[in-house]
Symmetry: C2
Subunit: 123 residues, 2 copies
C-alpha cells in the first residue's frame, strides 16, 4: 500500500478532504490530512485527519465513537483535494448534528439553522 | 444583502467552498472564495470564486459557459468552509469531466479513472 504520488499538499503540508455520506450523498464535513493521515486512512479504512486547531493526528471517532468507514477515496483534477465517501457512525459534527453544514445562509446573508436538531445520542 | 458575519477566512483571506450538484448530490469541485466572491455569489446567484492559480476574481462559467447557479449556500459549524448546492451547466471540471473528482484511489494507493469520459461538448 502506497501513498498516492502526485498529491499536492499546501505550505503547511495539508490537503483538504471533503467527507460525503456514502448512503445518501450528504456532505458531512471538510477536514485536512497530512501525508501520514492519508496513509493511515488508506491502511485502516477509517478517516484520519490532522487537526489544525489541536495540531495533532486525529482519528475521526476516536473519542466520540463516531467513526467514518471509508467506502471510496477520490482525488480532484488538480490533485490538491480529496473526496471520501464514508459510512458515518452517528454524527459527523462535534456539535451533534449529522452534518457540519447545518446552517444555511439565506439570500439576505443571514444564517439559518435548517438541518434539524442534534442527534440525541451524542454529547 | 449582506455578507454573512462570522465567516472565517484563512491567512490569505480565502474560505474553501465545496460545490455539490443539487440534482443528484454529486460533489463537483472545491474552490476558494474571498469576501468579494462570497458577496458576488449571494448577489448574482452564480458561483464566483477567487482563482489562486491566476490570482483573480473568477465567475465560474464566464469563459466556458459552464455556470453554476446556486440553489443553496450553507456554512459549517466552525464557519470556515462553505457548501454550495448548484445547478451545474455542462462540466464542472476544466478537463471536461462532470466532476473534478473523476479519479478514484484504490486500496493500493494507485489512482484509477472511474467516473466516465469527458463530456463531448467541452474543451
Amino acid at each position: 500500500m502506497q501513498i498516492p504520488e502526485g498529491l499536492k499538499y499546501d505550505r503547511d503540508g495539508l490537503i483538504p478532504a471533503v467527507v460525503q455520506d456514502d448512503t445518501n450523498g450528504e456532505v458531512l464535513m471538510v477536514a485536512y490530512m497530512n501525508k501520514e493521515a492519508v496513509e493511515a486512512t488508506l491502511k485502516t479504512g477509517r478517516a484520519t485527519f490532522w487537526s489544525r486547531s489541536r495540531q495533532k493526528f486525529w482519528i475521526k471517532g476516536e473519542t466520540s465513537g463516531h467513526f467514518q468507514f471509508v467506502r471510496s477515496l477520490s482525488v480532484d483534477c488538480d490533485q490538491d483535494c480529496l473526496l471520501l465517501r464514508v459510512e458515518q457512525v452517528g454524527a459527523a459534527c462535534h456539535e451533534g448534528y449529522r452534518t457540519c453544514f447545518f446552517r444555511q445562509i439565506s439570500d439576505d446573508g443571514e444564517t439559518l439553522a435548517t438541518h434539524g436538531t442534534p442527534l440525541t445520542d451524542s454529547y
